[in-house]
Symmetry: C2
Subunit: 144 residues, 2 copies
DNA sequence: GGCGAAAATGCTACTATGTTGCACAATCAT
DNA sequence: ATGATTGTGCAACATAGTAGCATTTTCGCC
């Protein structure tokens, strides 16, 4: 019993990539779209639980992989051992990130990507630049 | 039976950080100093095996952690799930890196760190910037 | 609306990477 | 040389991610 007509933003995004609109994908994407920061697999899983969306750990991994491969979401490595995921509201993943070294939060800094006018040594072929700023977020920086 | 007098570069580096000069530390540091690229825990372990240096997996983790905490080495997260370690010949870790998306190699680009003249949004407090360039290394870029 | 091929999901098991606790061994200032 | 301090080795544990495969869901098509 799927309601047919008005496609939500999440649904549109998925369809635009030629993917099937499924419970998990829609829910995950909604979580990411609503998130202020990049989220780990676990955090997303917890958010799905909160929404009452039953899901499997592995499916969630695969869903996130699909979102990244489709260019809808992006994945960040992170100093701790967890990858973080997020959606850039505006198009592809062409922006810097801020990583709070105290609380570990990662936020997208949309609209700023530095002119990386670096001269690469030899036959290196540049595809893209990834810039991560480290420091303290507003919340954590209070005491400093 | 440790030979006493002429301290090797590795030994000096270790001593300069107030650490004890041990078989594992010296060997690991020599491996890192000789390496062209950043190396994973496993690669370093294999290099130790080649050198005939008996070692324990956990000790290697702890040795690498110590080197990083001491500021002698640096750690990179990496898209695959392995951290890579390297020493910056010249002082602390203030340089960009190049990550080959085809073979996964990571090399330090010493002497280039971009002026990150980004204007941070709110109360963000910047400590350092981390720049990773992605693309193809000279070896992998041949066919393109 | 029902059919069926293609795609996604849910299991179970497995791998890879990193950690913890603790007994024992090596280092180095004295 | 001695002994407090630091580092090592081992075994067990923890966490993050992957693989294979049977079952279910989606969606274009009639
Ligand atoms: Mn982002
Ligand atoms: Mn480096
Ligand atoms: Zn913070
Ligand atoms: Zn390469």
């Amino acid at each position: 019993m799927p309601q047919t007509h008005p496609a939500t933003p999440a649904e549109s995004l998925i369809a635009a990539q030629g993917g099937r609109i499924t419970r998990t994908r829609v829910a995950v994407l909604e979580v990411l779209l609503a998130a202020e920061q990049s989220l780990t697999h676990d955090e997303i899983g917890a958010a799905l639980d909160d929404k009452g969306i039953k899901h499997d750990r592995v499916t969630l991994y695969r869903t996130l992989d699909w979102l990244v491969e489709s260019g809808v979401a992006h994945k960040m490595a992170g100093d701790d051992r967890a990858r973080r995921f997020g959606v850039a509201a505006s198009g592809p993943h062409e922006h810097a990130h801020f990583h709070c070294d105290r609380c570990g939060k990662v936020v997208c800094l949309e609209g700023l990507q530095p002119a990386v006018a670096v001269n690469l040594p030899g036959g290196y072929q540049l595809d893209r630049a990834e810039l991560v700023l480290h420091g303290a977020c507003p919340t954590c920086g209070k005491g400093a």
